[in-house]
Each structure stands twice: as structure tokens, then as C-alpha cells.
């Protein structure tokens, strides 16, 4: 059971201590401070679920503390404590976001009921956030489809590794469903009721990565207008998915290695060590062993991540799944666009079976989405799939896969006047991956 952290702010020693003793026996973790100013100092370094604040104090008043909390961390429940006679101030506090108020002295059951109600409300809020993200991700998770032998092996592997707490490294080409596999591990693990937090290491600029992962204190840097929890903190009790880990800087690799070893970290600008209990799943489309040889990936970090690893098969190695996947995407997009398209015609399906799909399942998904939009009949026809025009057929057995990929990317970029957003959508990869491939293959305008 996770302890509820409560901060008592009261300038009367005897009130503070008697309340702290009572709540400690109730099983909560209690801190006490004697002034509003001391409360603000505490709040910079420690996260609380509930604040019990006396309204009338020397110096900073309880209302000032309430204002600060609501501006900086509105999720914290603030209960005001007041003496009989200052009830109008308590009502004012309620208008300013206080959860409730108590008149001194109060009935022990009244206090207990408020605390229990706050705990229930906060749990419900966390659950709602989780359920909303589950609903949003559900469609994507359902896209992990496959009857082929390679996919059946992946499903078996996921079921084997899910119950364990070990770090998992998933490799494979872009668009093969590494993120879906990570989500499937989380969903089938004992941590499934906790959050699944994704960090796309290739999409977050290096100067923002530290704050994104570790969080920051208010005022830690110019734009830090309020204290923010990092992804490591948010993933407490769940799974942290580090996507495109091969794109992370050497400096961040050192910082992350340290966190993975002792699970303790500091927010940017913070002095309070924070602990978070999360499982790590990392993914990369880059060959990390090559990256180690190139000196851009740390060997110790690689071995820390590579406890259990598997490779997601590219779509060209499981072509028997193409009809199943294509029909699934067709159903989904025709429902979403409200277009009554029944099926993919035989010729269009043959074209799809011949194609190499360098962007893998994501490219197939985008191709079907586009076909549904442009289709003028009840069937998907070859002409609805412009990507399969003869000039797009680039399968030449003499070329290596890298050469094919480079040629295909170059062609798509040129056709779209180097519009990276448009090109990445057609290729079925995200923009950061496209940028890294342009750099890696030295593709020039």
C-alpha cells in the first residue's frame, strides 16, 4: 500500500504535534512545519498528497499557502483548519480551491472521513487518467496482429517476459511495432495497473531531455514557471518505455545508467533525492552494437538495457500477415471516415504482397489510410495505392536493404520537395527517425 504523504502547517506546536500523532497512528507519512514560509520550502523538495493548513498564522497566512499550492501543484488537496469565528475566511479558501475546511477542535471521525475521501478521489483521478490513456492506446494495441510463425513466437516471448521485472531491449526496423510489443509486455505484467510512460528519445531535443526525464523545480531555469514531475517520477508503479534509445546523447546515457543502477534521481534544480519504482523497456531501430563500435553508445549502458532482448520481424519476413493487417486497417479507417469500403481487390492485394514495405506495418497502415481517403468505389483498387506505381517498385535483389531504403527515402523526399513532415507520413516513420536516416545515409538535396 502506498503511504499518503501529509504536510501539517500550523504555528501552534501542540496542535501540530497532536494532529501529527493522530495521523501517524492512522498509517500516514507526516511532516510538520510551523509557518507558511517553511511550508513553501518543504514543497520545493517533497511531494505531498494532502496539506492541512491553519488559516491564521504569523507571517504568511494559510490562504497564501493555498494560493501557492494551487498555482504550482493543483493536484495536492489542501484542507484548511480554522478557529470558530473565522468561518468566512474558510469559505473564501473553499472558493480559492481548498478541498474542505475543519473547525478547531474537530471530531476525529470528521477528519478521518475527509482524509479517506481525498485518498479515494485522488485514486479515482489517477485511475481516470490511466483509463483514458488505455482507451486511446487500445486501437494501436489491437494493431499488433499476426498469424505468421515469427509473430506467434513474439507473442509467446512477450507472455514469457511480461511477468518478470527485468529490463527488456526490443530492436527491429522502424514501423515493426516495437512500441506495441512494449505496451503488450506492460499490459500483461503485474504492473499493468500502473502507468505506461513513453519517452521518444529521438523526438525530444537534447536540451529538454533532462527536464523531461527527471522533472524540474520551479525557477530551475528561465522557462521553469512551475514545478514539473519528470517521466521517471510519473512512471512510478508502472513501465518506462524508452523508444529510439539509440538516439540519446552520451551525457544522458550516463545519467540514465546511474538511475537504472540505484533508482534515485534529482529533479533539475532540486536537492531532494527522489525514488521511483518502474520497469524499463527500451527500443531501437539502430544496431546498438554498431553504435558502440562507432563510439556513440556506451557499452555499460547497453548491457544494463540488454537483460532480455528480442527483434521484431520486418513485414517482408511475414508477408502472410499482410492480408490480415490490411483488412484490419481497412475496417478501422472506413469506420473512422464513414466510407462504406468493403474490401481490397485482388490486384491491389497482389501489389501489396509484392512490395517490400521498408516502413513495415506503419507504412502499410498509412497506405491503407490514404487509399480509404482517395477511393471512389466500394473497393480498394491498385490506383488507390499510388505508392505501388511502377516507379515505386524498388525491389532489386542485387541491392542491400540499406541501399534500397536509402533509394526509397531519397525518392520520396524528392517527390515531396523535401517536405519532411509529408515524406515521413508517406514513409510511415516519424520525423525524428527520418532526420536520423537522412543523416545516417548522407542524403542530400
Amino acid at each position: 500500500m502506498i503511504e499518503t504523504k501529509i504536510l501539517i502547517v500550523d504555528d501552534e506546536h501542540i496542535m501540530r504535534e497532536s494532529l501529527a500523532g493522530w495521523l501517524e497512528r492512522d498509517g500516514h507519512a507526516i511532516d510538520t512545519v510551523a509557518s507558511g514560509e517553511a511550508a513553501l520550502e518543504k514543497l520545493k523538495d517533497t511531494l505531498y498528497d494532502i496539506l492541512l493548513v491553519d488559516i491564521k498564522m504569523e507571517g504568511m497566512s494559510g490562504l497564501d499557502v493555498l494560493k501557492y499550492v494551487k498555482e504550482n501543484d493543483p493536484d495536492v488537496a489542501v484542507v484548511m483548519i480554522t478557529a470558530y469565528g473565522s468561518i468566512s475566511t474558510a469559505i473564501e479558501a473553499m472558493k480559492n480551491g481548498a478541498y474542505d475546511y475543519l473547525l478547531k477542535p474537530f471530531d476525529p471521525d470528521e477528519l478521518g472521513i475527509i482524509i479517506e475521501k481525498i485518498i479515494r478521489d485522488q485514486a479515482r483521478i489517477r485511475e481516470n487518467v490511466y483509463l483514458k490513456s488505455q482507451v486511446k492506446d487500445r486501437t494501436r494495441f489491437e494493431s499488433m496482429i499476426g498469424q505468421s510463425r515469427p509473430m506467434q513466437e513474439i507473442f509467446d516471448l512477450i507472455m514469457d517476459v511480461a511477468p518478470r521485472n527485468s529490463t527488456v531491449l526490443i530492436t527491429g526496423e522502424t514501423g515493426t511495432g516495437k512500441g506495441l510489443a512494449a505496451k503488450a509486455i506492460h499490459t500483461n505484467s503485474p504492473r499493468c495497473e500502473g502507468p505506461f510512460v513513453v519517452v521518444n528519445c529521438g523526438a525530444i531535443p537534447e536540451h529538454l531531455m533532462e527536464s523531461e526525464l527527471f522533472g524540474h523545480q520551479k525557477g530551475a531555469f528561465t522557462d521553469a514557471k512551475e514545478t514539473k514531475k519528470g517521466r521517471l517520477e510519473i512512471s512510478h508503479g508502472g513501465t518506462l518505455f524508452l523508444d529510439e534509445i539509440g538516439e540519446i546523447s552520451m551525457r544522458m546515457q550516463i545519467d540514465l545508467l546511474r538511475v537504472l543502477e540505484d533508482r534515485v534521481f534529482y529533479r533539475v534544480g532540486g536537492t531532494q533525492p527522489l525514488k521511483s519504482d518502474f520497469r524499463v523497456i527500451a527500443a531501437s531501430n539502430r544496431n546498438l552494437e554498431d553504435a558502440i563500435k562507432e563510439g556513440i553508445f556506451r557499452e555499460d549502458f547497453y548491457y544494463r538495457l540488454n537483460v532480455i532482448s528480442f527483434i521484431m520481424p520486418p513485414l517482408r519476413e511475414r508477408k502472410e500477415d499482410i492480408p490480415l493487417l490490411a483488412e484490419h486497417f481497412l475496417r478501422r479507417f472506413s469506420q473512422e471516415t464513414n466510407k462504406p469500403i468493403d474490401h481490397i481487390n485482388r490486384e491491389a492485394m497482389d501489389e501489396m504482397m509484392l512490395y517490400e514495405w521498408p516502413g513495415n506495418v506503419r507504412e502499410l497502415e498509412n497506405a491503407i489510410e490514404r487509399a480509404v481517403v482517395v477511393s471512389k468505389s466500394r473497393h480498394i483498387l491498385p490506383e488507390d495505392l499510388p505508392i505501388f506505381k511502377p516507379e515505386h517498385r524498388i525491389s532489386t535483389p542485387q541491392n542491400s536493404l540499406k541501399e534500397i531504403e536509402k533509394a526509397h527515402i531519397t525518392q520520396i523526399l524528392n517527390e515531396n520537395e523535401w517536405n519532411v513532415s509529408k515524406s515521413s507520413k508517406i514513409l510511415g516513420i516519424d520525423r525524428s527517425t527520418l532526420y536520423s536516416k537522412i543523416k545516417r545515409y548522407s542524403i542530400n538535396k
Binding site: L19, G21, W22, E24, R25, D26, I81, D107, D109, G112
Partner: protein, 168 residues
């Protein structure tokens, strides 16, 4: 609870300004049965006037606990006071009892334990509440906090109903 080293250590039941003398032996039997310690009745405090607050017309339980812990004999692993005075701590209107968490002393008041009992069950109901309250407060002195399991003696049931009624 089976893991405590008991030896010759005992728990003292200390009556304070009480009229319910028949209850002490029952509490002693519960202590022996549930906690496994011998219990002995020994009145450690003559009165609790020192803890009386005339403004509230109640007795400050924390002050009583401090004095009780100071006066407890060395061989007493814990001491529980049973009183009929109305107890309070400054922030709350009243308390049924109080304990030093992980400490030596606890106290239970009979003053409010008869609330909501009907004439039909007043005798048995009162004794049952007293026994559970006593073991509950002693549990705090063994550093046990409130428990969410409704079948546990350390469960705190709100409102009106006192700790739920089963054995650890």
C-alpha cells in the same frame, strides 16, 4: 503477533478513576490470548487531575501517557490505563483512547464507549468494545498502525463504529 520475545515481561493494566472494575480481568485474558503476554493489574496513577483542562472540562490524554510511561516499572513491556474520564487531544473534540506509537503507554476511556448501545446489548456490547479498544491501542504501542483490512483489530471504522471485531 507470535514473534515477540516474552520471557518475564508483562503488560500492566492500570485503572485510573474507574468504576468498571469487572473489566480488568477480561482485558487481562484478552492480552494473554491475543498478545501472549502476562497481564497484571497495578494502579500506577492516583489521579489524573494534572491533565485536566478547565476550559474544555476534559483530560489531555497525551499528558497522561507521558506520566504513565514515566511511572511504569522496568519489567513492564507496556502499560495500558483504563479510565472513565473524558479524554481529548488539543486538535480534536475527544478521543476514545490514545497510544504512544511504538512507545510504552496507551490509554482507553470508557466515557464514550457506551454511545449508541441499546438497553438490549449494553452490557455485552460495552465489554466487547472495551476489549477491542484496549487491544487496538496496545497494538499501536507495538508500532502497528491502522489497517485497511476490515477483519483486523487495527482497522479503524468510521464513523461511530469502533475497531472491527476480530482477532489478529
Amino acid at each position: 503477533m507470535g514473534g515477540f520475545i516474552k520471557g518475564s515481561q508483562e503488560i500492566i493494566i492500570s485503572p485510573v478513576e474507574n468504576t468498571y472494575s469487572g473489566i480488568y480481568k477480561s482485558i487481562g485474558r484478552e492480552i494473554q490470548r491475543i498478545l501472549g503476554f502476562q497481564a497484571r493489574i497495578n494502579s500506577l496513577l492516583q489521579n489524573v487531575d494534572f491533565a485536566f483542562d478547565p476550559n474544555r472540562n476534559q483530560y489531555h490524554s497525551t499528558a497522561i501517557l507521558e506520566k504513565l510511561a514515566d511511572t511504569a516499572p522496568l519489567q513492564a513491556i507496556k502499560v495500558i490505563a483504563i479510565t472513565n474520564v473524558d479524554l481529548f487531544i488539543p486538535i480534536l473534540t475527544h478521543v476514545y483512547g490514545e497510544a504512544q506509537l511504538g512507545g510504552k503507554a496507551c490509554i482507553v476511556s470508557t466515557h464514550r464507549l457506551q454511545e449508541n448501545l441499546t438497553p438490549m446489548n449494553i452490557e455485552s456490547g460495552f465489554e466487547e468494545r472495551m476489549l477491542k479498544e484496549a487491544i487496538h491501542e496496545l497494538g499501536h504501542t507495538f508500532n502497528l498502525r491502522h489497517c485497511r483490512d476490515k477483519s483486523c483489530i487495527m482497522h479503524y471504522c468510521r464513523p461511530k463504529i469502533r475497531p472491527a471485531l476480530s482477532i489478529l
